[in-house]
């Protein structure tokens, strides 16, 4: 079994398409770093000039207000006026400030969520369908005839292979954003930034592993990348988008909600609760009620989904002839 896993890992390492996906993921992370670079740029000369002008206008306005007030105070009607000048902001408050690190990191890492999961899914699918597409599975089965082991080692290799790619992309994103703050000489903020970040990353990586298992399971079940893509798109439209709109109570069945719950420590959805109106016979009163899916429940649903799909894949793989 470890031999098979080692061989599958070598196959994974040598597949160019998988490196391409990993590269695209890194590119996405770098994009977020570049955006942070833009957000944290010091104010330009034009911005400073505009801020100075705004400050001057406001200060001038305040001065005129005081002068006018004092004039009125001198008359009879205005002798109870308070003519202290209003609190004026300082010039620095007129110049746009760079966002806080926690804000930027949240944006960047949060934005990497979907790309990381899609990449993990795609890598899991491609790693397995390549074997069927090139029809090399038959050859492989004459060397490793136990199909359950072939499935286990391939799925295992997909998971192990996907994790470094996801980790590298997240490291580049986080490291890059922090580096931008260091280079700009900006404040890194409070320590709680890091605990939040750690929580998110330690939840995203297992989710990526589950996505890889899901991909491998789908690929073992239908053997064709285009067919898998079709199923994924159908699921996304029919179940993830349409179903909760038609039957809101079924929202917890969607992977999107469970994923959000798992990653963000819980997620809310609303259902309508109706009961007979005590005042009007035959009528109902309804109200929107918010419900939550907990983080653990979300994680469990994701895990179970991947397990079921993999089990279906295993069943099909064991029973169906390999050409």
């Amino acid at each position: 079994m470890t031999t098979l896993l080692r061989i599958e890992l070598e196959r994974f390492r040598c597949r160019g398409v998988l490196w391409l996906v990993a590269g695209l993921l890194l590119l996405t992370g770098s994009g977020y770093v570049l955006m942070t670079w833009g957000h944290t740029a010091p104010a330009s000369a034009a911005e400073v000039a505009a801020a100075t002008e705004a400050f001057r206008v406001d200060a001038e306005g305040a001065k005129q207000f005081v002068e006018r007030c004092l004039e009125l105070q001198a008359t009879d009607e205005g002798n109870d006026l308070d003519c202290r000048p209003p609190d004026l902001p300082t010039l620095s408050q007129y110049i746009p400030e760079p966002p806080e690190l926690s804000w930027e990191l949240g944006d960047a890492v949060g934005g990497m969520k979907v790309p990381v999961l899609i990449a993990a899914l795609a890598m899991g699918v491609s790693f397995v369908t390549a074997e069927f597409g090139a029809r090399t599975m038959g050859t492989w089965l004459t060397f490793a005839p136990r199909r359950s082991r072939v499935l286990a080692s391939k799925t295992g290799a997909a998971v192990i292979g996907v994790l470094p790619a996801a980790l590298a992309a997240l490291a580049v994103t986080i490291g890059g954003v922090v580096l931008v703050y260091l280079v700009r000489g900006l404040d890194l903020g409070e320590a709680s930034v890091w605990t939040d970040l750690l929580r998110f990353v330690t939840h995203l990586l297992p989710a990526a592993a589950v996505a890889a298992v899901l991909g491998a399971g789908l690929a073992f079940a239908v053997r064709n990348a285009a067919a898998v893509a079709g199923i994924v798109v159908w699921w996304a439209l029919a179940v993830e988008v349409a179903l909760p709109q038609i039957i809101p109570a079924l929202a917890p069945a969607t992977l999107g909600l469970n994923l959000r719950a798992w990653l963000e420590g819980g997620a809310e959805y609303t259902v309508q609760e109706c009961r007979p109106d005590p005042d009007v016979l035959g009528a109902q009163v309804c109200e929107d009620v918010a419900r939550t899916v907990g983080s653990a429940q979300g994680g469990l649903v994701l895990l179970l989904t991947a397990a079921v799909v993999l089990a279906i894949g295993a069943l099909v793989f064991r029973r169906r002839a390999v050409t």
Binding site: T3, L4, R6, I7, E10, R11, C14, R15, G16, A130, A134, R135, T136, G138, T139, W140, L141, T142, F143, A144, P145, R146, R319, A321, V322, T323
Partner: protein
């Protein structure tokens, strides 16, 4: 070694269903027996069920019914133990197009602890120079050579070749024949399915012929040729038309090959001279053709009409 055959199937049956639910019987109650040691040819016309049978022997396909025993192991339970001693090419060589020949072979080799053999085998099949190139860039024959190398990784007791010489040049055909012969001489069993009957006849010791998924003949190649085929006789006559008519009246099958008559079903060539002489036609030359595997094959598979020109004066 016991006298248990290397492969034994009993009542093996496999059907496929088409989209319209029409049933295609690929293998129908096949009793295949391949003795240990030697080259065993597995012959049959296109669609006879050879590849399907081989795929079932390797566990790539499940039989509908029937039993399979390979190297003393009952399938499907003993598949792992059996396949560990079998090297096989099924239908076409299949490897990762983007990996080099060496990497493809090495990945397979690692699974059976034969990593050290890779370079030697690549040299043996004449691929040493191109081993670093992508498999995709190989010619058909080079792919076939790589597949042959892959079957030898396990030090197999049984080697199954499904059309191994498809696409090979004469040197490649010769090499594969040499490899098969060497394996057989070393006490291994080779099961080879091929349509190159002259090639097969040179190398095979025993043969099974299937038609429509059923076994129609098996045994030693020499016995089969000796018993089944009465050789044809080629006669060069002064008047082919009249001569042919006379011979046909006698009940023999006669066809024309240019000015020469080929007569089949003759027990003793002397008879031909007599019939011709009675008709006033004279033979310039009379040559008994050596019966061969092709003739036996065509006779058994009933393909004469389709495959050969027929009729006098055609």
């Amino acid at each position: 070694m016991s006298d248990e055959p290397a492969i034994r199937t009993r009542g093996l049956r496999k059907t496929y269903r088409s989209f319209t639910l029409r049933e295609v019987v690929a293998v129908e109650g096949l009793d295949l027996e391949v003795p240990v040691g030697g080259v065993h040819a597995f012959l049959g016309p296109n669609g006879a069920g050879k590849t399907t049978t081989i795929r079932m022997l390797l566990g790539l396909e499940r039989p509908d019914s029937g039993s399979i025993r390979v190297l003393g192991h009952d399938l499907p339970g003993g598949l792992g133990a059996a396949v560990a001693k079998v090297g096989a090419i099924v239908e076409q060589p299949r490897f990762y197009p983007a990996f080099s020949g060496r990497r493809n072979l090495s990945l397979l080799a690692q699974s059976v602890g034969a990593g050290a053999k890779v370079d030697g085998l690549l040299a043996q099949v004449g691929l040493a120079d191109r081993a670093g190139d992508r498999y995709r860039s190989y010619s058909l024959g080079m792919k076939q050579r790589l597949a042959v190398a892959s079957t030898l990784l396990k030090d197999p007791e049984l080697v199954i070749f499904d059309e191994p010489t498809n696409g090979l040049d004469p040197a490649g055909v010769h090499d594969v024949r040499t490899i098969m012969r060497a394996l057989a001489d070393a006490g291994r069993t080779v099961l080879v399915s091929s349509h190159m009957l002259a090639e097969v006849e040179q190398v095979a010791d025993t043969v099974s012929i299937v038609v429509g998924g059923r076994l129609v003949a098996d045994g030693r190649v020499a016995d089969l040729i000796g018993s089944r085929a009465r050789g044809a006789v080629r006669v060069d006559v002064t008047d082919p038309v009249r001569g042919g008519e006379a011979l046909e009246r006698r009940g023999w099958i006669v066809r024309r090959d240019g000015e020469v008559l080929v007569v089949e079903g003759v027990d003793d060539p002397v008879e031909i001279s007599r019939v011709l002489a009675d008709a006033g036609v004279y033979a310039r030359e009379l040559v008994a053709e050596r019966p061969d595997l092709e003739q036996v094959f065509l006779e058994l598979t009933g393909a004469q009409g389709a495959a050969r020109p027929q009729g006098v004066g055609a």
